[in-house]
Structures are given as C-alpha cells and as structure tokens.
Amino acid sequence: MGATRLGRREPAKAQKPSKVGEVATWADDRHGLAALAKKNVRKVFPDHWSFMLGEIALWSFVILLLTGVFLTFWFKPSMAEVVYHGSYDQLRGIPMSEAYASTLEISFDVRGGLLMRQIHHWSAMLFIAAMFVHMMRVFFTGAFRKPRELNWMVGGLLLMLGILNGFTGYSLPDDLLSGTGLRIADGLMKSIPVVGTYVSFFVFGGEFPGDDIVSRLFTVHVLLIPGLLLALVGLHMLLLVYHKHTQWPGPGRTEKNVVGFPMMPVYAAKAGGYFFIVFGVTALMGGLLTINPIWLYGPYNPSQVTAGSQPDWYMGVAEGLLRIMPGWESELFGYTISWNVFLPGVVAPGIIFTMVMLYPFIEAWITGDKREHHLLDRPRNAPTRTAFLVAMMTLFGLLWAAGGNDLLAVTFNLNLNYITWFMRVAIFVGPPIAFVFTRRWCISLQRQDEERLLHGYETGVIMRSPEGSYSERHLPIDRTGAYILTARDRDEVYQLPAGADGNGVAARGSLKNKVRARLSEFWFADNVQKPTREELVAGHGDTDRELALHAGEAHPADGHQYDGRHDVAGDELRKH
C-alpha cells in the first residue's frame, strides 16, 4: 500500500538520480533482485495477535545467535582439568573442567558476561515456549491443513531440534546439573535393548562421563543444530510466503485472497518493532532474574547431586514420565531390560514426535478433507480437534507437574509418594475428561452460534404481551457477525463405499474403511452444522417480524434503546 502510493507521488520525469539510487541501480544491474523485492515488499499479511506468536520464536532465535556468538569468545569446550583461580571465592583452588572454569570466568570476570549468559538462557526458554504456543495456535485453528502439511512438519522438526539444542546447551557448562542431566541421557541410551551400551560408548567416547562429551556437544550446539535450525527457519518462512498467510474468516476474506497490510511499511514496522520488544523483555529478564547459577551447583562430580535437580522446562515432560514410571524390569537371556527407563525415555518421546509429525495426515484421512484451506477454523467449529489438543495439553501439564513433584511436595506440604500415585492415575483419567469436557463446550458454543444466526441475539429487552406473558426480544445480528459465523464448510462424515459387501463378501480394505467410517463418525458426532439457506430464511422471518414490530413502535418504551441498535452516547439513563 505504502509502496504504491510512493510510486504514484513521483511523476516520471528526468531527475538526477541520488547517490543511493545509483548504488541500487548498480547492484540491480548485477543481481536483478529488484523485481523480486518489489513483489515481496508488497506481500500482504493479515493482522491478528495470534499470528505474531511464531515471531517470538523467530526473534528469540536471533537473540540466541547474537548472545551465543558472544559466549563462544570465552567459553572453552574442554574437559581438561584445571584448578580454578578466578574471582569466585567459594570455588577457588578446586579442580574442575576447563568448560566449567570458563563458564565461571564468563560469569564473574568477563564484563557483561553473566548478563549475556542469562539473556542467552532466558531466550532459549522463551524460544521453545514460543514455538509451543505458536504450534498450539496453528493446531487450534487448523492452519496445518492442506496445503500447509509440510510446513507443519518443518515446524515439528524445528521444535525437536530446538529442544535438543536446549539440552546440549544445558549440558555444556559441565556444572552439577549438566552432569546430572547427561547421566540421565546416558541412562536413556543404555536402556535401549542390545545396542544401548554401544550407543552410549559412541556418544561419550567411552564410559560415562569420559572426557569428550563437552567438546562434542559444543560442536552440535553451536554448529550442527543451529545450522539446521537456520536452514529450516528459512524453509519455514519461504513456505509461509509461498502459501501466503492464513486468515480468519470475515467479510471480503475468502479462500482465494489475503486481506491485510503490505510487508512495507506496516509489517516491517510491526515485526521489526516486535523484535525490539522481545529483545527488551529478554534483556530485562537476563538482567533481573537469576537463571542457572552454576557457581552454586559446583563443578560436576558423579558423587554429588542436589535437591531441585531438574531439566529446563521443555524436558519437564520427559522428567515427569521418568519420575512416575513404576520400576519395571525384566530379564531376557540373562540381560536386563529396563522398561522403567526405556518406555518413558525412548519409546514415549518417539511416539509423541511421530504423532506430531503425522497429525495433519491422520486428521485428513479421518475427515476425508483433501481441499485447500486458507481460512482458519474457529476452534469451536472443530470440536474433536480442539478437544484432542486440550487433552494432550492436560497430559503435558500433568507430566510437567510430575517432573517437579519434589517442589510441589515442599511448596504445598504434600506427600511426594501420593503425588506420584495421583499422577500415575491422572495421566490416564485426566485427558479423557478434558477431551469430553472441551468437546461438549465447543458444541455448546456452536449451538449458541446457531441460535444467534437463526433467532438473533438477546437484546435484554423484556416484552410483556397483552395476555400478560413475558418474553425476551431477539434481534438479528449484523452482517459481519453473520458472515463470520457462516464462513465454514459443512462437515461431511465419511461413508462406507456402497456395495462393498453387497453379497456379504468383504471388499479389499474394508476393515480399513470401516475403521475410517467409525472414526469419521466419532469425529463429527454431535457437531452443529451451519444452517441451510432455508433455515436461515425461516429464522430471519422470525427476527424480521420482531424488527418490524420494533420499528412500528411510535414511542419505544424506556430502556429499549439498549438493544444494541441505538446510539446511547450521552444517554441520561446511563448515568444512573
């Protein structure tokens, strides 16, 4: 919008080009990017706060790169033993790894070092949290549907790599918590049947902890994963531009357009400004709130452990699973299989990530929906999907809480063992309850929408009929509201192909189809479908009669001005 207006204002007359113009022309003659840039600065993005959640993650990632580079200038990724002689009194003279000593140096002897460390760590926490929130938005609104399934998978990969990089960063300083975390990682690897010990030995370069792990994790943390993240972030954004951004339904917004503001200058200003806000919030947190006080933990020592040994929040679910898992083990040919570690530590994360990656395809298979979608679903209009995520969030929350069971026990004077037992039951009982509750809630909201569409909104005006009965007057909702409520497709339950078992012979794949039909029926069961044209007309007949009645009143009774159709500014009654 801004760009075009600027173009119009400058008439095409011979003018001495400015210096900047000359340079731009020189460059454009050689790479010819102007045409591409011109198209993209006018790219339109829709406006909604929930579309900015991914930006938090993007900007946190930028902050991570900036502060991370600063930290690498002083961090020494080595497990060679040195004796500490720095500024922190309580550890002077203690033998420790160079990694830990240099982290102490960054914290106490490098100007601004502790601030940078803390900003880096806080922005890592926010990076992954923002990815989760962004992913939840995409899920709730159905933005992962065709044609965006691949971008959903790229997002899933980004999340997985983000978590992995968070864990490697947590392990680098070689403090007591780092080592405790790595010890658990070592245990998880060793719990894999047959190859576990080999995997662990390969990773640690021998028996845990060895003296290779920090330098290996360093390369993974600063080169390998950030490189992958950067490439995938680029792909994620490219696909976003290619697919165009989804938008909420509304008047003038269709599956074929995007209503919003152009990249330049509105979105550049908004997004650029948001970067500074994210940086500001993260810097404030880094400056004011202690995070990972490694000097208190001390250098890693396998003989030590501390109360409050927890991973960063994004590993809390894995920690919780591990904490509430019963101690199941079995012996096979003289070898112990540690189900108590293998199931929660290796199998569960594998299942969760596979499910996350495949979800768009699973849903499309059940619903049979192969259409393109650029308009978002309101969460209530996909009750089963919404309820499924709320159930998953409940499970996540419970496991997360289980990961902090000791702090729950201390803070709320609870019995640690009871918490464990409660969680063991709650993770199976809680999510189904949340599912049913959310689904019914969504359907209630759908019914309310239908009510508003067909019979209008409640004006709050009570009418007394000549017979003496009372009723509330309903008036039709406005066109924008009606458009938003009706801008969705009718659900189509998958039907079994007719004649598949016409002679009682099961057709090929009929079991699969039966399962699919069952699931599809379950998926859409009890959903409220948007009214048909006839229903709308009939409904509007009611409200139109009401409206006519209302218009015919020569002297509307006092109080009727509050029906939402009258301007009540400066109304005397309002002041009482």
Binding site: D89, A129, T290, N415, Y418
Partner: protein, 262 residues
C-alpha cells in the same frame, strides 16, 4: 526389657565411646531436677515419664526414647521449637521456641543425666573465627557432597519421601546447624565427629554463611529452587508479557486508528 536394652546400649556406648563423656550439665543436680519437673509436664506424655519412649499397640514409636540422645539433641529440638510437638505428624516443623534458654538448659541437663550423648557444643566450635578462605572452599565441597542432595544447592530445602522434608538452612543459627549434624534430628543422618570432624563442621557452616553474605549475582534468585522456578518465570512472565505485547501491537493497527477517526 526395652529400657534394659537401651540402658545397656547407653552404658556400653559410655564405656566404649572415647569422644563423648557425661558433660557438666548433668552434674548440676538442681538443674537436672528442674529439668525433670519440666519434662514430666511437657514431654512425658509422649516420651514416657522416664524418657524411655512409648511404643504404640501396632509397634511404632509414639515418642522415642531419649536415653543417650544427649544435651545437644534437646538443645536443637527444643531450641528451634520443634519440640514439644503441636500435633503428631510425619515430621516436627520448626516454630517459635516454647521454652526459654534457662528451661531448655534444664531439660537438656535432665536428658543428659539419663545416659551419655553428644553435649551442647561450645560457642568456639561454630563461631567461624578460625575459618580461612580455604576452609570455606573445603566446607563447600563437604556441603555439595553431603548436604545438597536433600537441602538443595543453596540450602533452600527439599522434599523427602512420605511428606517429609529437609528444611531450608538459610538464616539458621550456626549452633543449630552444628547440633543437627551432630545429632541427626528427624530424617537427617548423624554426622558424628568421627565422620565430619568439628573443624570440618565449622567449615560447612562457614560455607553456608558465605552464600548468605554473597550478593545475588544474577538478580532476583527465584527462591533458589533451580530450573522449575525458572520455567515458571519463563512462561508466566516472559511468554505472558510477550503475548501481551503481541495483542497490543495487533490492536494498534492502521485500521483501528482509521476506525476511531471515522
């Protein structure tokens, strides 16, 4: 039977243990007598009239025997208000002391007179005067190895099974930390003078004190509870604020400005 066994154990301990002898508290008969009077009123209902302990019908201890626990244990339990118990529970919480210093001394003298046990440590054992910088560092290593598993890396306390807990150490009188190591109250193991020498005990206390004297280098310490508290702040404060800003930015768009003008 139990009493005999306990007395025998106590007696044997008195003979065999070279370090602890009957301290002079128990020698003061008037004090012991006053302590006994106080004991019969305030303690005997659980610990028995002769401090022999009371066993319940299902075999658990209603109140344990106090024969041989020593004056240090009494000084710790009564001095920190843990005893007398307000109500039975898995663990005695600390609360304002119910007895004054003189009464606590009398109770300690009475219990010390029942059998030999650790005496109340002299003030020079925990006044930290002889502790140099190296001592603090050494104390830190003892602390990290022996104490943090329950009391947390900053002495902020932690959970134990079945509703029990390791209390926070921040702000605890050095004398009580010393006595706790010496007597192993409640769930705590005993760190006798043979396990951790009196000098090392003083170093541990010096380390805990030095942490309290350190400025909070990284800013507000979030209770020193570790990553769980950090995660809570990341979500509630960080994501909360950033989503708030996103709503603000989206609400203040070009369109909504135009709308207000129109």
């Amino acid at each position: 039977m139990l009493l005999t066994a306990l007395l025998l154990t106590g007696g044997a301990y008195a003979v065999l243990s070279p370090a602890s002898a009957q301290d002079d508290l128990a020698a003061d008969e008037a004090l012991v007598d006053r302590g006994r009077q106080l004991f019969l009123v305030g303690c005997a209902s659980c610990h028995g009239t002769n401090a022999e302990g009371i066993v319940t019908s299902d075999g658990t201890q209603y109140g344990p025997s106090l024969v041989g626990v020593g004056a240090a244990a009494v000084d710790f339990q009564v001095g920190t208000g843990r005893m007398p118990l307000a109500e039975p529970g898995v663990q005695a919480p600390d609360k304002p002391a119910q007895y004054d210093d003189e009464e606590t001394r009398a109770l300690a003298a009475y219990v010390a007179s029942l059998g030999p046990g650790p005496a109340i440590p002299e003030a020079e054992k925990y006044d930290l005067e002889g502790v140099d910088e190296e001592g603090v560092v050494r104390g830190g290593q003892f602390f990290l190895t022996n104490c943090t598993a329950c009391h947390n890396f900053a002495g902020a306390g932690g959970a134990l099974p079945e509703g029990k807990y390791a209390p926070p150490l921040q702000g605890t009188d050095p004398k009580y930390i010393y006595e706790a190591m010496l007597t192993g109250p409640q769930q705590m193991p005993v760190f006798s003078d043979e396990v951790i020498t009196p000098e090392d005990k003083e170093d541990v206390i010096a380390y805990i004190q030095s942490l309290e004297e350190n400025p909070s280098y990284g800013g507000f310490a979030l209770g020193s509870y570790g990553p769980v508290a950090e995660g809570m702040f990341a979500w509630l404060l960080g994501i909360g604020a950033l989503v708030g800003f996103a709503v603000w930015i989206a609400a203040n768009s070009v369109r909504s400005k135009k709308r207000t003008k129109a």
